[in-house]
């Protein structure tokens, strides 16, 4: 492997940047942001150089040093895994991340805590790269938690807003639930297979598929719990929409393009662990999440929340694809999604900036003339998300639908097609309301286009959202997950590949797109208020209120949790602290006070005690 040092630099540069900003340059906004941007852009360049030198499939795919050696079987390496999967993710994280960093330079320009923001961003980048490059479960878990922490810091970045603080806590705590299962799964795998290294584990599972024995499904599902938390799958999906309290670049980077995708990445990395039963569960949880989120998105009015629910829905697609034994479609969709979802978020951010931090779509309208560049980039993002041929989203979504069809899982296939229609509907509902019709508020009439530092990343991302399906990304993942049969080569062949491979999926997907688009146009092209509640009645209210999941959790889990906490607190306060510790402490204290009375201050007593002591010692030794 050439340039073995590069991945280490890529990983640690952002950490260095975070440390330097925190320790030295916190007072200087510009220097801090340039340091942070420099770290990630350098990371991107180094990734490209490394891939140029070694290709996407280096012969030796690991570089490591022994980190902790506890003696016995527990040895933990600090190692980097470098194969197609992680190298592609490196490109996404540093590439899309770099664009978002540059965008943040403009977006956060007026924030007094810009330096702190960039320190957090760098910390996040470090953690995310750590997940991507980890070659063993412990390292992945450590970085997994670090990502959770940086996400917490960034959601709560505007900590003076109570809602931001609450959202940060909600995200962190909800993730802990998933991480608990993840850790239990890791321990179980280690206990049964005796290793934590992905390569070794994979080898063990391949030589002996029954190595995990009867616990195989349970172990797999426990590990999957981690992904349920981080990728916000049902039933732990509730934190992601609230996480939109963070600054918009954060939503784009962490809660759309990279971190939430970490769950899907982890599933693909550990695909060898899952039994068919476990995969089944994963597929249905993914499919259900996708459907649920798409339905909720139809009735949201906050521009960022709509995109957030769309993210949930797309993550559901990816998890469903993994469950359908299709890691390549999942990773392919993850990649294209990173492009177009980051693009949509950043465009939305541009809109929010133009509207002076107004996020309600019913206050906007007719922005296509005021913000032409944003309008075009948003359109490209929306079309890519909805899956219009030949934009990137079409190819990746089609490969997922094709996977479902190919696996003869027609239920999930139909759900998938239905969601594709819904996706187009809610996306273009948003699009028409924001960019067409009449200005619905004063702010909308005074909106203005954003500066170049904001629009430039939009344009770059728009280009990749458009062509992402045609530049051979899917083929790269085949290094990791080889398939039988031949790959069609060439640009034109790639363009028409879906129609050849699985015509039913491709055509039904396009049909769903068309229906969704027409419906959205009919309902929303000129609407000043939402006409849907009148038509759907109770269903619309339920959608608007996110099917009452927050209320349900509040009434059950949180109430129960408060009850248990009160009981435990009582036990701690009265039984442990009062009787247990209190008695020991009181006894110790009392004996101290009593002993003090020996110390009378009277010299005669002292002399007597001294001689008494001498006699005691003499008796102790000489009594025999």
């Amino acid at each position: 492997m050439k340039y073995e040092i590069l991945p280490w630099l890529i990983l640690f540069l952002p950490l260095l940047s975070a440390a330097v900003i925190t320790l030295f340059t916190l007072r200087c906004k510009t220097t801090s942001s340039l340091i942070s941007i420099g770290a990630i852009v350098a990371g991107f360049v180094m990734t490209v150089v490394f891939i140029n030198a070694n290709g996407f499939h280096p012969a030796v795919s690991e570089t490591m040093t022994n980190w902790l050696n506890f003696g016995g079987p527990l040895q933990i390496d600090f190692g980097l895994k470098l194969d197609a999967l992680s190298l592609m993710m490196l490109l996404i994280v540093t590439g899309v991340g770099g664009a978002i960093h540059i965008y943040s330079y403009g977006y956060m320009d007026e924030d007094p805590s810009k330096a702190r923001f960039f320190a957090f961003l760098s910390l996040f980048t470090f953690s995310m790269l750590g997940i991507v490059l980890a070659n063993n479960f412990v390292m992945m878990f450590i970085f997994w938690e670090l990502v959770g922490v940086s996400s917490y810091l960034l959601i709560g970045f505007w900590y003076e807003k109570p809602s931001a603080g609450d959202a940060a806590k909600k995200a962190f705590i909800t993730n802990r639930l998933g991480d608990f299962g993840f850790l239990a799964g890791i321990l179980m795998v280690w206990g049964l297979l005796g290793s934590l290294n992905f390569g070794v584990l994979k080898g063990a599972m391949e030589t002996n598929p029954a190595a995990l024995g009867c616990c195989a499904t349970i172990a797999g599902l426990l590990v999957f719990c981690g992904a349920v938390g981080k990728s916000a799958q049902f039933p732990l999906h509730v934190w992601l929409p609230d996480a939109m309290e963070g600054p918009t670049p954060v939503s784009a980077l962490i809660h759309a393009a990279t971190m939430v995708a970490a769950g899907v990445y982890m599933l693909c990395r550990t695909l060898f662990l899952y039994t068919p039963d476990a995969l089944h569960v994963i597929a249905y949880i993914g499919g259900f999440t996708a459907l649920l989120a798409a339905l909720i998105a139809v009735q949201q009015n906050d521009i960022k929340r709509i995109i957030a629910y769309s993210t949930l829905s797309q993550l559901g697609y990816m998890v469903m694809a993994v469950g359908l034994a299709g890691p390549t479609p999942a990773m392919f969709h993850l990649t294209t999604h990173a492009f177009f979802k980051a693009l949509l978020f950043l465009s939305a951010g541009s809109v929010i900036l133009g509207m002076h931090h107004e996020q309600d779509i019913w206050q906007m309208g007719n922005l296509r003339k005021k913000m032409p560049i944003t309008f075009v980039t948003f359109l490209i993002g929306a079309l890519a998300l909805s899956g219009l041929w030949p934009l990137s989203g079409f190819f990746s979504k089609d490969s997922i639908l094709g996977q479902a069809y190919g696996q003869h899982n027609y239920l999930l296939f139909i759900i998938g097609v239905f969601i594709a229609g819904l996706t187009t509907f809610y996306t273009f509902r948003l699009f028409f309301v924001v960019f067409f019709g009449q200005e619905k508020s004063k702010a909308a009439s005074h909106a203005h286009e954003s500066s170049l530092v904001i629009t430039l990343p939009l344009i770059v991302l728009a280009v990749f959202s458009a062509i992402g399906g045609l530049i051979g990304i899917e083929g790269i993942y085949h290094y990791n997950f080889p398939i039988e049969g031949e790959q069609s080569a060439g640009f034109i062949a790639a363009l028409f590949e879906p129609f050849k491979a699985s015509p039913v999926a491709a055509l039904l997907g396009l049909l769903a797109f068309a229906i969704g688009l027409v419906a959205a146009w009919a309902l929303y092209a000129k609407a000043a208020t939402d006409p849907l509640p009148a038509k759907l009645g109770g269903m619309a209210t339920a959608m608007k209120n996110k099917f009452y999941f927050d209320e349900l959790y509040e009434a059950t889990f949180i109430r129960a949790h408060d009850g248990i906490a009160a009981v435990v607190n009582w036990i701690d306060q009265w039984i442990l602290e009062g009787c247990g510790i209190g008695l020991v402490r009181g006894g110790t204290n009392l004996s101290g006070r009593m002993l003090r009375h020996l110390q009378t201050g009277n010299l005669q007593t002292y002399a007597f005690l001294f001689v008494l002591g001498v006699s005691l010692v003499l008796y102790f030794v000489l009594r025999k």
């Binding site: 204290n589 101290g592 002292y606 002399a607 002591g613 001498v614």
Partner: protein
């Protein structure tokens, strides 16, 4: 005679220095006398440099005066130790001079230096006469040092108590020496070791050894001879207390090690249980009594009793690693305790009270002093990465080794007691820290101006504590070399 001088050159220079300091009193005007101390510090610093460089009399190994004075790695270690302690105590004394009656500071300096001479002799003592003479040189000097603030009733009371109880213990010790000489006819440790085995059953001989140990137990304030410590620590001037806690205690330990492991190793081997019991009770007594204390110096007095207990744990282990651990622990204890007393001397010198509350708001009045005190307390409590932690670790490790070698379950009880003692001590040590940073009682928040020497002393102590905790190897190697002079007691 000339050849003997090669061996005791350092001691002679120190006594000479003491005389010079005393005479300087006559020629220097009263308001300038506190600077005489820096002359003393300079000379002692030179001697320390010589000893560290491997030159000087203390590095010439061998014995003189019919074997009653010996220079070996052990004495070398302790002589360096005593020099460092005396230098730091002189710094503290110079800061404290305005609390003593006007102009009397020069005499105070010379007494410290005379006590140092006694400690240097103690480090090299190899027979009972030398032991007794050096102990008396130290103790009698301390009688004066303790009651030096003649106008303070408390100081006088402390002096009288120390004098009478000290005389009592000396009486026991000299009686013990007489019994040993009467039964064996030997006073030299090396000669005695050769014949001690034959007298293992003689109760008169054992009585003699025990009475010598009583005298030494008084010096180190081990149970049941600890009763004087809190009163004397509290009443004495702060620099005296500091020197008492470090120098006098270490002198007691070097003599104790010599007697137990050089003079009567065959008897010591039978006394594991005695030492375990004394060590355990001393630890518990010191820590428990310190709990309700509000007077800082009294608190440190009890704390010094508990530390004597920890040190005895290394003696009780009866092995080389235990002896080395004692030396290492003392080195850490030196910086830690002197740091604490430096802060007490600087902060409380202008207050009537010596109550802990006098430290309230110290972090605002002088962050350096607050940090010094915090580090000192944390190290005393034995928390990594400071010197106190590593010392306790070594002591307990030696006890574990002893337990594995001898299968004596008493060691495990002792280790448990020591750990319980650490937990108890956390409470009162952190109580001091709490007052400095979080107390709301602070009335006086004026900034404390520190002189340059005071700052240097604080930094030396802090660096010493961290150095010993983080890079233990240098001192540990010295300690191991020093402990190698003893024969293996338990095989």
């Amino acid at each position: 005679m000339n050849s003997s001088l090669n061996f005791i050159g350092m001691e002679v220079s120190v006594i000479g220095l003491g005389l010079v300091l005393m005479l300087a009193d006559l020629f220097v005007p009263a308001e300038r006398r506190r600077f005489i101390g820096y002359l003393g510090i300079g000379v002692l610093g030179l001697l320390l440099l010589f000893s560290l460089g491997g030159d000087g009399s203390c590095s010439t190994f061998g014995s003189v005066f019919n074997g009653s004075f010996v220079n070996d790695p052990l004495s070398l270690f302790f002589k360096r130790f005593f020099l460092v302690a005396a230098i730091l105590v002189l710094f503290i004394a110079a800061e404290f001079s305005d609390r003593l009656s006007e102009g009397s500071i020069a005499e105070y300096y010379s007494l410290i230096v005379f006590a140092l001479a006694g400690m240097l002799f103690a480090a090299s003592a190899n027979d009972f006469v030398m032991l007794f003479v050096s102990v008396e040189l130290i103790t009698i000097t301390f009688y004066v040092l303790v009651s030096y603030q003649r106008s303070k009733i408390a100081a006088l009371e402390a002096g009288v108590k120390y004098l009478i109880l000290g005389a009592l213990s000396s009486a026991f010790m000299v009686f013990g020496i007489a019994l040993i000489w009467g039964t064996t006819g030997k006073l030299n440790f090396t000669e005695l070791a050769a014949v001690a085995g034959q007298y293992g059953d003689s109760k008169i001989f054992l009585l003699g050894v025990l009475l010598v140990l009583v005298g030494l137990g008084f010096k180190i304030a081990a149970f049941p001879f600890q009763i004087w410590a809190p009163d004397v620590y509290q009443g004495a001037p702060t620099p005296t207390t500091a020197f008492l806690a470090v120098g006098s205690k270490a002198a007691g330990f070097v003599l104790l090690l010599r007697v137990l492991f050089s003079a009567v190793p065959s008897v010591t081997a039978q006394w594991g249980n005695l030492l375990i019991v004394i060590s355990g009770i001393t630890i518990l007594y010191g820590n428990l009594c310190a709990l309700p204390q509000r007077n800082l110096k009294r608190l440190l007095g009890y704390s010094s009793i508990s530390h004597a207990g920890y040190l005895l744990l290394g003696v009780a282990a009866l092995n080389a690693s235990g002896q080395a651990a004692i030396l290492y622990y003392l080195a850490g204890y030196l910086f830690t305790v002197l740091a604490g007393f430096l802060v007490i001397a600087l902060v409380l010198r202008h207050l009537d009270t010596e109550d802990i509350s006098g430290l309230a708001g110290l972090n605002q009045r002088s962050p350096l002093l607050a940090a010094t005190m915090t580090i000192s307390m944390v190290s005393l409590a034995g928390i990594p990465p400071l010197a106190g932690f590593f010392g306790k670790f070594l002591l307990i490790k030696s006890a574990v080794e002893a337990a594995q070698l001898t299968c004596n379950h008493g060691y495990y009880c002792l280790i448990f007691t020591a750990l319980a003692g650490v937990v108890i001590s956390l409470y009162y040590y952190f109580g001091v820290i709490k007052v400095m940073y979080w107390s709301k009682e602070a009335k006086d928040l004026t900034i404390i101006e520190l002189s340059a020497p005071a700052k240097v002393t604080a930094w030396v102590c802090i660096l010493g504590i961290f150095w010993l905790g983080l890079f233990p190897n240098t001192v540990l190697n010295m300690a191991n070399a020093a402990a190698a002079v003893f024969a293996v007691v338990v095989k």
